[in-house]
């Protein structure tokens, strides 16, 4: 199938600004799903609030556009209700890590079988360019006109520390890598976190004089390197890309079904 076979074109044009990275992520998420051969009926996409969270409306899956920061909590209910479904949770950096930070770390701790795709553009786009928990120290935003004095999360380390059993990072520049990583994340049985560094030329780019969307994507190319690569060795300041964590651990919804089975056996034995 083609990418457009997974879209609800009735609701186009989409709301994203020219040059926004979210459309790239949406297209590559579709390509990953196609590569895995998943049926549209088997997929639920749950999002919160923000630019990136508008994605589900355009996708021809079961789609749930929820509250700011709460996507992972809603998705937990969906997954528990129907564990056989594939549940994907696209989020923005403010959505996932500020207002939704608590839900994210607890889903990671439970190792709930959800795929969190966090589009990190280092800014709140929908509300007009305020600094987020992923805005690097010193960078400008409408609520930090002299540069933020807060420090950004390292999302990879945060997800790893919270117990996510799959953690990866990629960028909108590295399209083939993104498809491969998202496909692996969806296939992974457990809580998967994929950070996709994405560009917001309208707010983050403009506030920090980073040029056009193309210029911003070039920075992703130049400023990152594969995990453990020679390039990283030579330039330790580069941000690493790739899969950081991929482990098999008891997954919550499956563990719960085992608990149900244990109770059933006990009931039979005790009459």
């Amino acid at each position: 199938m083609a990418v457009k076979d997974y879209l609800r074109e009735r609701f186009f044009p989409q709301i994203w600004c020219p040059g926004c990275g979210h459309g790239i992520v949406m297209a590559n998420m579709i390509r990953a799903i196609e590569r895995l051969g998943l049926k549209k009926d088997e997929i639920v996409v749950v999002s919160g609030i923000g630019c990136s969270s508008r994605m589900p409306g355009y996708l021809d899956f079961h789609t749930l556009h929820t509250l700011h920061g709460r996507a992972v909590a809603f998705a937990t209910g969906v997954k528990m209700g129907r564990p056989e479904l594939t549940v994907i949770v696209p989020m923005g950096d403010g959505d996932a890590l500020a207002i939704g930070g608590n839900h994210l770390i607890h889903a990671a701790r439970r190792n709930m079988d959800l795929t969190a795709i966090i589009m990190n553009n280092s800014i709140y786009g929908m509300t007009g360019g305020q600094y987020s928990p992923m805005t690097p120290f010193g960078k400008r935003a409408t609520t930090a006109t002299s540069g933020t004095i807060e420090h950004a999360f390292d999302l990879v380390e945060l997800a790893r520390g919270a117990g996510a059993s799959f953690v990866a990072r990629t960028t909108t520049y590295h399209v083939k890598e993104m498809i491969r990583i998202i496909a692996k994340a969806i296939k992974h049985k457990g809580f998967a976190v994929v950070e996709v560094m994405s560009q917001c030329p309208t707010y983050y780019g403009r506030k920090n004089k980073l040029g056009s969307a193309v210029d911003m994507m070039k920075r992703f190319k130049e400023g990152t390197a594969p995990i453990g690569s020679k390039k990283k060795g030579e330039h330790p300041d580069l941000i690493e890309r790739g899969i950081f964590v991929q482990e098999e651990r008891p997954e919550y919804s499956r563990s719960y079904l085992e608990l149900v089975e244990k109770c059933r056996v006990r009931e039979i034995e005790t009459g």
Partner: protein
């Protein structure tokens, strides 16, 4: 018949109604509901999860409800405050869910182990924006069971969250409860769409009878759900006509039925000169006082409300006609009393007998007020 705690009666009612998924967070005085369900649900193939807070609990039950199951969460005051955001989401997206609030005393963290009825208005207006909401309550454990079943029935019928507003006394007291046989009390099952696979299903196209048949996530129809103002497809809209119709639909579907779906009980009301109006554990003391006065030939009666919202305006107005006085008995500073005054033709005859100090209002407390308004001194 079993001797049990109020919170246990709520659990029994929920399971009778077909509860399949519960998500919650511990809080006094509702915690027993979670504890009991964590044991009972896996035994029947149902699901229990202890979430990281009440926000997540309410979000999780909405997600699970969309996959086709009956869902519930339970909490008390501070947790109920946290749930308001998601309650509004469930109202807007028309997702059936039951939210139990076993009320404690006071605002803030208040009096965790004491009784109160101060969340009546929060149940009505806790979430932002124009809306209507169903809120039920009970004064004894048999009724707590019945109202819990009814909460699930109304949630399914009207595709709406329903609040069960109990209080610490009802939640923690022990009484006998007769658990009906299956089929003895009506249980409403979810109305699912008959639109076949491959044909367009409009999740928010209201049927002539005002109902919206559902389709489970994972089922034949793929559609969008959003908390934004949405069209019949469930897709966001900012169109003023779409907005007008949606808000009207959400409010009217409940407010137009405020009296026809109201639950209440009457004791000695026929010839009563003074009518008491009460609900929850306050109604127990009110009934005790009424029975005691009747023995002495005093013509008092009690209207016990079990439906608090939408407020049964016509019912209350009619029942108050021709009384010398109306005395509202509640454990707050007059939240239902104000509502009664709003709907009756002679609000100056409406008085309040209340406590809000964490102590259960007693028949003597009420009698003191009754004597005062009748000019008999204190």
């Amino acid at each position: 018949m079993r001797f049990m705690q109020g919170n246990e009666a709520v659990v029994e009612g929920a399971l009778y109604a077909g509860l399949h998924f519960y998500a919650g967070y511990p809080i006094t005085p509702s915690t027993e509901i979670a504890e009991i369900l964590s044991e009972r649900l896996p035994r029947i193939g149902g699901k229990f999860i202890q979430m990281e807070d009440e926000i997540a609990s309410t979000c999780a039950i909405i997600g699970a409800s969309l996959t086709g199951f009956k869902v519930m969460t339970a909490t008390s005051g501070p947790g109920f405050s946290l749930m308001q955001e998601a309650i509004g989401y469930a109202l807007m997206t028309e997702v059936p869910a039951v939210v139990v609030n076993v009320q404690r005393g006071g605002p803030g963290t208040g009096l965790p182990t004491s009784v109160g009825q101060g969340d009546v208005m929060q149940a009505r207006w806790g979430t932002h924006g124009d809306h209507s909401i169903i809120t039920l309550t009970a004064s004894n454990l048999q009724d707590a069971f019945i109202m819990t079943v009814e909460a699930f029935n109304l949630a399914e019928t009207f595709r709406t969250p329903v609040i069960l507003l109990f209080d610490e006394v009802v939640g923690h007291m022990r009484e006998k409860v007769v658990i009906p046989q299956p089929g003895e009390i009506e249980v409403v099952e979810r109305l699912r769409t008959s639109v076949p696979e491959g044909t367009n299903y409009h999740p928010y196209l209201v049927r002539e009878d005002g109902r919206l048949p559902m389709s489970d996530f994972g089922g034949a129809h793929r559609y969008n759900v959003t908390g934004l103002v949405h069209d019949m497809w469930g897709f966001p809209s900012t169109d003023s006509r779409v907005t007008y119709d949606l808000i009207h639909h959400l409010v009217d579907k409940l407010e137009h039925r405020a009296d026809t779906m109201a639950h209440y009980k009457e004791y000695f009301t026929e010839d009563a000169e003074v009518l008491l109006i009460s609900y929850g554990s306050s109604a127990r003391s009110a009934l005790h006082m009424v029975e005691d006065r009747r023995k002495r030939g005093v013509k008092v009666g009690l209207l016990e409300l079990q439906s608090l919202w939408p407020f049964p305006r016509e019912t209350v107005r009619k029942k108050c006609e021709g009384r010398s006085h109306v005395l509202v008995v509640e454990m707050n500073m007059g939240q239902i009393c104000q509502e009664v005054k709003r709907v009756v033709s002679e609000p100056e005859k409406v008085f309040l007998a209340n406590r809000f100090d964490g102590v259960l209002i007693s028949p003597e407390d009420i009698l003191r007020l009754l004597n005062m308004i009748q000019g008999k001194g204190v």
